[in-house]
Amino acid sequence: MNAPRTLFDKIWDDHVVHDQNDGTCLIYIDRHLVHEVTSPQAFEGLRLSGREVHRPEETLAVADHNVPTSNRAAGIIEETSRVQVETLERNVTEFGVPYLPLDDLRQGIVHIIGPELGFTLPGATIVCGDSHTSTHGACGALAFGIGTSEVEHVLATQTLIQKRPQNMRITVDGECRPGVTAKDIILSIIAQIGTAGATGHVIEYAGSAITSLSMEGRMTVCNMSIEAGARAGLIAPDAVTFEYLEGRQMVPKGGAWEQALANWRTLPSDEGAVYDREVSLSASELVPHVTWGTSPQDALPVTSEVPDPAGEVDVERRASIERSLAYMDLAPGTPLVKVPIDRVFIGSCTNGRIEDLREVAAVALGRRVAQGVGAMIVPGSGLVKEEAEEEGLDKIFIEAGFEWREPGCSMCLAMNADRLEPGERCASTSNRNFEGRQGRGGRTHLMSPAMAAAAAVTGHITDVRALL
């Protein structure tokens, strides 16, 4: 009898093209997502060496990082951004790669559209030149971010040379109380294990609080695996996964669907499978979380106060906290709910899906964005935007004083025109609160969509549970 294997082991073993006996394996890549920022040099590399794209049909390109989220008809005004998008368009034409142009309804953030179109499948290996590729693990796919040289390697060979990561399981049991979401689960996990807590590992999320999440919630959790340093995040495919995927544009149909389902049902980890590391936490004790510093691990329950670096024994960590507090302009001991907000950003590959927008609408309905606060909502894709508008969510947002934008990465990384001014403080549903991430001198507080909506209507960080 074979030794019990984890979900990760099964997908990995299924994709080993060649074990190179030197600590690395050549693994096969089933799906490759490409965007405008990390691909130009890869296509240029192919061109210079006279190589072709090996499996263009299993590659999907879209522009998302640089695209404008307002007045699309005017095109991309900023020249370097426009050149980058035009370069992508030229490359996909030259190399025959499927592409979703800016005026296609399906255009959106790579990690939103992959699952949405059924390009992402359980049991598949998926890569993209973007660290948040871990998102797709919510569908039971082994998905991870790569650099541009690796993008070129995948384009040329449909394989990657990889060292086998280790297995880590994070079990979250119990039931989340109202107002506590997938974002709070993942923020509390990162706060607990640290920003390098899962380096070298693939995290499998398990437990009743994970399996009871919708696919959107699971994607939020897996998305931020990289903020804990993980190579990838994974959730075992189940009935929720299959129901989400069935009928989507690129998902296998008919007999192929049945065959796929039979395979996917064999993927969950075997009883007795061994993990190199195990962590567990209880969802029933969780409180909405918010970050106070400049690393995603700097998250605390919203009921807490800004920490005092004097209490930190690790010298380097203390220096890091002091620097963060100076950058964030926060004094130790300040209650988090007293921190005023200038801007609100709702969107990104972490929280730009339909369920996220519904949570925002639930808080925004019948309320107004506070005086002096600029709040924008950027749907993750054209399809998310369309669905939200069919449900009338856009009307709730506009009525409440939010800006309703076109899909893209937007102020998650502020490569387009959407960015913070120096000193501005933002309640953001994105994934990184690094110094300068949303604009030089900008201050980011990460939180759930419901919490961001609560901050928008009150003008300060707020425990959303009081508004439900």
Binding site: L26, G147, E152, T199, G229, R440
Partner: protein, 205 residues
């Protein structure tokens, strides 16, 4: 890719933990379609004031370290975004070796694709090296990839570990796409097997 064999040069001490790739090269410089020219913007927000003048106290603006070829830093170097612009910016500045207690996975992989050597040593060893680098204008930090050794200005030797395949590629400046394309028949056999076992995974002909 340039080979990495040995290196003797100045090491800049960067006493910060969790240096993310946004900090190494901020997003406004990712709009390039080239690999070159990023050195000027390396550590942009740490190195320059908003008006474009230099931040005097930042290590790479101080005379002995302006021409540093090695950076010694705190744990979890290169976390965050997968942008390969981070190693490109370091290389373009002239840095070909980073020493830290630990690295984030994607950054670590990206280094090896560009002839940049990331060396992982214990916290205690890195602190010793940081102190040695603080001494200033010493030209005698030596890195020997083949022997897997760092020698500090005091002559103390620190041995480091590295995967044999990565060492081989870096030492010989090998293009791993070329190596993989040499396995085209194995890849094709795998694809045939996939078509039979998991045909639902295949898109296109």
């Amino acid at each position: 890719m340039d080979k990495f064999t040995t290196l003797t040069g100045v090491a800049a001490p960067l006493r910060m933990i969790n240096i993310d790739t946004d900090r190494i090269i901020p997003k406004q410089f990712l709009k390039t379609i080239k690999r070159t020219g990023l050195g000027e913007f390396l550590f942009n927000d740490l190195r320059y004031n908003p008006d474009g003048s230099e931040v005097d106290e930042f290590v790479l603006n101080r005379p002995p370290y302006r021409h540093a070829q090695i950076v010694i830093a705190g744990r979890n170097f290169g976390c965050g975004s997968s942008r390969e612009h981070a190693p490109w910016a370091l290389l373009d500045f002239g840095i070909t070796c980073i020493i830290a207690p630990s690295f984030a996975d994607i950054f670590y992989n990206n280094c090896f694709k560009n002839g940049l050597l990331p060396i992982s040593l214990s916290e205690e060893q890195v602190h010793k090296l940081l102190d040695a680098a603080d001494a200033g204008s010493n030209e005698n930090f030596t890195i020997d990839l083949n022997a897997q050794r760092v020698t500090d200005p005091n002559g103390e030797i620190f041995e480091f570990k590295i995967d044999p395949f990565r060492k081989h590629c870096l030492f010989n400046g090998l293009d791993d796409i070329g190596l993989t394309l040499g396995k085209a028949a194995i890849i094709e056999a795998f694809e045939q097997k996939r078509s039979v076992q998991n045909p639902w995974l295949k898109l296109g002909p």
